[in-house]
Subunit: 340 residues, 2 copies
């Protein structure tokens, strides 16, 4: 079978198409014929050598998600799966390949109305956004939610989930060219303008968020219930003044910085929770729990048209390097898909 | 009635004994004859002008807790209170006085076997420690819990609660003279020794905690379930490497710093929750909930001898300034009480 392997560590050229032996499904696993996978920031980090795959996972093949069909069932399978079923799911790595095996408790059915390409925009983006917003962040109807890096695939999924949950979504981006498209997705889209405050350069979204919140309620400080922090770094500090008491910041991404100076006095006095989260390294049992919650709470919303996966661009598997370079250029809104 | 009022803002000399009119209990409030109160860091902060009392609270009289007797019941009282009942409780301010009024849902009975002085060491210390460890931090039997500023009255209460919950308690202090007494309270007591790491001075408790944890399990990193952070500042950063996945840091105090540089990548990858908390500014309904949980879960443990309030020193109400100076000298282990 064809596989994209990482040779060394560095630029997109380290991704090399190889031929490897097709795996067999072990105990209670499914063998999947992969029809499509997609590119995530984590794949690029892994390619550069910064984000190794967790233990027990293929080390030199990137990829965190797939859509495909069940080719065969391993011994001991007892859930309701059949050969030919269209399924999708997350993996801790190794989805840039023609076949893969996965624990039978971790796959989800693909919504009937979608082809494989469209469905490839679902797993990582929507499961990450759902887990962070709802399972970690406790999102409820009416919540006011701020999302940084809002044009990312997780940001796009988050915008739709916030709408479906009857909340108010505010998305920020550093790229002014994305504003028009973001404004369709979010109740309010804001372009960050770096601002110096007390000798420190902050991302600069707070003034825009504050004036939007004022239009809602006449008050601005203390109005955000939830922050989906996809950028990290100094974005956290800048959001503190905007939050309501007992507000929650769910930290999912670190592109804007792995460390930051934080006013913990504000965290204390507003009783804020800062919750770090990542899906990749969780136990099988915990992942299966997230997948079942997603199947029950989120999958029906695709059929009802409340959620609509956004594919930005499709590459062939052998163009994985080009797909990486494209994602690194930050030109996308929504998902960069690899057709296998 | 006698009252200790703050005149201006500054040192202990700003605390002045005054005569004021005795209050009357309003609707669904109790009039309490105060027998004792106690000194908290927040009182000192308030005296210095840094920590104003919340809205709706007397502004110029410090004090967050009291023990006393019910003198009269206001109109509309419907809970099971009687004149003469020995009660204790928390207030957002204004307990340095002979009489006070409080919502009838916020008082707790004083354990029978204690006199007023001993009971005065209960409310703020034990309710704060219980709320932070159990209600916010989700403490469970078997948890490994690190407490900074462990010789403070909250730290002493926390040590006893951790033991009663069948957990392992590790307490840190900057004062080597407190080590012996702390070693009686905690499974392990550690004196901080400031350490320079990557050009940054950290409190320096991690090596001691790590070697103790190694004696427990053969492994040290990733072993703490819960941190009761009473110091704040750089203590948070130093504890990150010691924590287990999904570990919780409950931030209650800021004496060691109101801002800090934080490795949020560790918060993300270990899925740590940093939860700020404070009792003072909560709504009546929320406070009443904490008080009822405390009555049910914690009060019986005093009668069984599992919890034992520690009074460090007793001052008269008119010695409030001396009591403040004593607490500021950091000489105490346990509570500094004011007899009214």
């Amino acid at each position: 079978m064809k596989v994209i392997a990482i040779h060394g560590a560095g630029g997109p050229e380290t991704l090399v198409l190889e031929e490897r032996e097709k795996p067999e499904a072990p105990y209670r696993h499914l063998l999947i014929k992969v029809h499509a996978t997609a590119v995530n920031r984590a794949d690029i980090m892994q390619r550069m050598g910064f984000y190794p795959a967790p233990a027990g996972c293929v080390k030199d093949v990137p990829g965190l998600e797939f859509v495909g069909q069940i080719q065969s069932l391993g011994p001991g399978c007892h859930l309701d799966h059949r050969v030919g079923d269209r399924v999708m799911g997350l993996m801790p790595g190794g989805t840039y390949q023609e076949y893969l095996t996965i624990d039978e408790s971790l796959v989800l059915p693909i919504p009937e109305q979608y082809d494989f390409i469209k469905a490839a925009a679902i797993p990582e983006a929507y499961i990450t956004a759902f887990d962070a917003l709802v399972l970690q962040g406790g999102m409820r109807p009416g919540h006011r939610v701020l999302v940084s890096a809002a044009a990312s695939s997780v940001g796009v999924a988050a915008a739709q989930l916030i709408k479906a949950w009857h909340g108010t979504g505010i998305g920020t981006t550093r790229n002014a060219q994305k504003l028009t498209q973001l404004a369709d997705l979010y109740d309010k889209a804001i372009v960050c303008k770096s601002t110096e405050i007390n000798g420190r350069t902050l991302p600069g979204f707070a003034p825009g968020v504050r004036s939007y919140l004022e239009t809602l309620s006449g008050t601005a400080n203390g109005a955000l219930d939830l922050v989906l922090e996809l950028a990290g770094g100094d974005y956290i500090e800048e959001s503190l003044d905007l939050m309501t008491d007992r507000g929650i910041i769910v930290l999912v991404g670190l592109l804007a910085g792995r460390t930051t100076q934080l006013s913990i006095n504000k965290i204390l006095s507003k009783r804020i929770s800062l919750i770090g989260t990542t899906l990749r390294a969780r136990s099988l049992a915990e992942k299966a729990g997230v997948v079942r919650a997603f199947e029950k709470q989120v999958l029906p919303l695709f059929a009802r048209g409340l959620l609509d996966p956004v594919v930005d661009k499709v590459f062939r598997l052998d163009q994985a390097g080009e797909a990486h370079a494209y994602l690194e250029s930050n030109a996308n809104i929504g998902k960069v898909v690899l057709e296998v």
